[in-house]
Symmetry: C2
Subunit: 463 residues, 2 copies
């Protein structure tokens, strides 16, 4: 877009080229290879690129140190990311204040997928990528998944393959390009660039990469831990249509939905202030980990990694290791024949815009063990009960570059027409197309809801 | 939207009811009263509601104190707002790091305008509101301009008149409802709710309020200091159409514009960290003010206020007093017959999303006195030169509730077809409709650009 002299050309008003939803539906209708076949290829890449991850005490975490005074866990270069404390005060929910460790990563990562039409069908170039925190080491990732510390080569390693498609605009056109948040309880102010670029010319092949249709990706999503979090968030931002068309009815209009979300964002107070990690109350540091006094929530641990297909052959880093499996659940109900999900305006201390729309329930159920029932998240008992019909129930992985074996059960349950349409103020019934609309702009639909949205899209029949 | 049981009804896909742009154009075409007549009414209200504002030393600033240790300027209740220090490091622009005082106001204000159709024409209920920092004490403000500290009555005063329209959804429907930033060099993370609600029933009249058409407001904008900043930002978010229709050509498509902005937002590093006010380097505190060592930028001063038509009869507060008049300027050029403005991706330390689209030039020219020319903002010399044709040149006021006599020259200059279309990477040519598109969502178009956009809209002929 820079330094170009050219004739003006007609602008297109819509936010995406008008034929993109149609092309995405066509790609969703194609799945020539089964999930098992593709998982087999992934196994091969895993074997072809051996790696090891071992836990080490902080004293052996080469390159990392606890800063003098604050006790923050930082890289000796000051780059990559750090772990510090956060002091939270809010009028949302049951806990008016607490302190916790949190990951601070100011670099914006490119989560970029190269797309290309092959035999008339849109394909996406997915990478078999090893991350140290993955339960199964290698998962399908975006073509490029790199922070600027990486792609500007702070680690002095190789450049990220294909990164040029996201820097040089003459190589393709952006189908989607939007900043999105990540886990608001584990990251402070995190924002990543979710971008899909359709390549204009041929794309050089490489062994660790595979072209997949949307239909193939949807099949993979029905299995645990094959499509990584970064791939899920990027793909969720694409304007994938709802089969049957957008003429379907919705419970609320989009202006009403936006007004509800604006009001919820404005309604709650949040003060999330930096605190030195050494002084975070309720948490303690041992030689091996930073851990909550009741061993709830998560631990911060250290690992040493060796990998054969990453930009550098080996490194040490901290990881955030959740103590238990998370739950992200949507309650789904048909209203006037159209599927709606019960979305929640969710406040998390790390969200840049305080509140985003999340799933009906998003929590780590084990954190509520022993707590009074009235402190449980709304609808938690419902989604785990026999009163609902599960239509999707698959455990997926969170980002393995920062989180150790972080697993989230993705649950979508259907309720019948007798289920009340009235909701508490933080909840609203939204259609899939309305969730999709929220992904077009930053900080409206949270990571877990975007991931569930993609899974929901994958349940539809596109052919 | 809460606790309502009702039949589903068809959703409308567009972000605004489809007839709203048409109704806004019709309101823009009507200006039964002249700017002079309305300014006369405003004078009357000013005389009818006498007020005084006097500077006081910090020692006499009742209710405010410098916090022990940090030296932050805070209210004794901990509410309203505070002034603390900010330590800034960035790779944008010429100054890699600096420290400064900044206003921290975590409360979200409602900037709300009640609208109503009168004799078939949309009218807006504007308030003659006194603010202590206004050069002319009273200006036309939104119907409601109140932080939650105010409307929840932290000051134990009267409730803000008409605030119920923005809390009780049965009273009207939102025509626009979006969080927007304010001055990113003076506020940290500030976001306000910009909302227009069309009342469903009759609206009780009050002496300090007046119903204006959009045409009347446009006429008022050609005069200095009549329409306050809050009113300008709210009105700028309405989907006011460009006469001649949206079928006009644009230099770049909207997806290209969004991708450019996302890339600019992702491209720059910003670390803006809290610093105790007492230790901010380059600034000093006297008995009367906090001032920069070179007397540049702004001062923080204290005032005592008495007012007859505010929620409380008198109070003290700090104000940020700029040392000199600001400049917000758009370079305009026709491309293929369609007016485009040269917009800049502008990084400010207080922006929640780091970078927003601003005017071609946005600065305080006096801050560059004595600095080398290559440190001047791009295009500053151009917009002040005789090589351009000014088509709008009016000084407007910034928010008088926080700023003392803060004036910004609003300048729009036209350049001819010989002006190069190539731009540096931080700049892009956008149409008015594209600027309007950017206001639909948070943190895309900055305060000064929104204000200029409204002035630009007011230059068009709607009848």
């Amino acid at each position: 877009m820079t330094n170009v002299e050219a004739r003006p050309r007609p602008g297109t008003a819509p936010a995406t080229p008008t034929d993109l939803p149609e092309r995405l539906a066509a790609s969703a209708a194609q799945a020539p290879r089964s999930a098992a076949e593709i998982a087999g290829w992934l196994d091969e890449r895993r074997r072809g690129n051996p790696s090891t991850v071992e836990r080490v005490p902080f004293a052996d975490l080469t390159g990392w140190e606890f800063a003098a005074g604050s006790g923050d866990l930082v890289h000796s270069t000051g780059r990559f990311f750090s772990v510090h404390g956060l002091r939270v005060r809010t009028d949302y929910g049951h806990r008016p204040e607490w302190e916790q460790p949190i990951i601070d990563q100011r670099d914006v990562a490119i989560l970029g997928i190269v797309a290309r039409e092959i035999d008339g069908v849109l394909h996406f170039l997915m990478q078999a990528k090893m991350e140290p925190g993955n339960v199964n080491t290698v998962q399908l990732s975006p073509t490029v998944q790199a922070t600027s510390s990486n792609y500007l080569r702070a680690h002095k390693g190789a450049a990220s393959r294909y990164v040029e498609y996201f820097i040089d605009r003459t190589r393709g056109r952006a189908l989607v390009d939007v900043l999105q948040s990540e886990q608001g309880s584990w990251f402070v102010g995190k924002r990543n660039r979710n971008v899909v670029v359709e390549a204009l010319g041929p794309v050089e092949p490489h062994d660790d990469f595979i072209w997949l249709t949307l239909g193939e990706i949807f099949a993979l999503l029905r299995e645990p831990h094959l499509v990584n979090m970064d791939a899920r968030t990027v793909l969720s931002c694409l304007p994938i249509p709802t089969p049957g068309g957008a003429s379907s009815t919705s419970w609320r209009t989009m202006p009403e939905v936006r007004s509800w979300l604006t009001e919820r964002k404005a309604n709650y107070a949040l003060a999330a202030d930096y605190a030195p990690l050494a002084s975070v109350s309720g948490w303690r540091r041992t030689a091996d980990e930073i851990v909550h006094d009741e061993e709830r929530y998560f631990r911060v641990i250290g690992v040493r990694v060796s990998a054969s297909n990453r930009e550098v052959p080996g490194w040490c880093q901290p990881l955030l290791a959740p103590c238990s499996t998370g739950l992200a659940a949507f309650v789904m109900r048909r209203i006037g024949g159209t599927p709606h999900v019960l979305a929640r305006a969710d406040l998390r201390p790390g969200y840049r815009d305080v509140v985003e729309v999340g799933p009906t329930v998003q929590c780590t159920p084990d954190n509520y063990t022993g707590r009074p029932a009235d402190e449980w998240p709304a609808y938690l008992d419902l989604v785990l009960s026999r009163r609902v019909r599960p239509i999707f129930d698959v455990v997926q992985s969170e980002e393995g570059g920062r989180f150790h074996h972080a697993l989230t059960r993705h649950l979508i349950v259907e309720v019948g027409g007798g289920f009340p349409l009235g909701t508490p103020p933080d909840f609203a019934w939204l259609t899939l197309d309305q969730l999709g609309e929220l992904t077009r702009h930053s900080y409206q639909l949270d990571m877990e809801a975007r991931s569930l949205l993609l899974c929901l899209r994958g349940l539809a029949t596109y052919r």
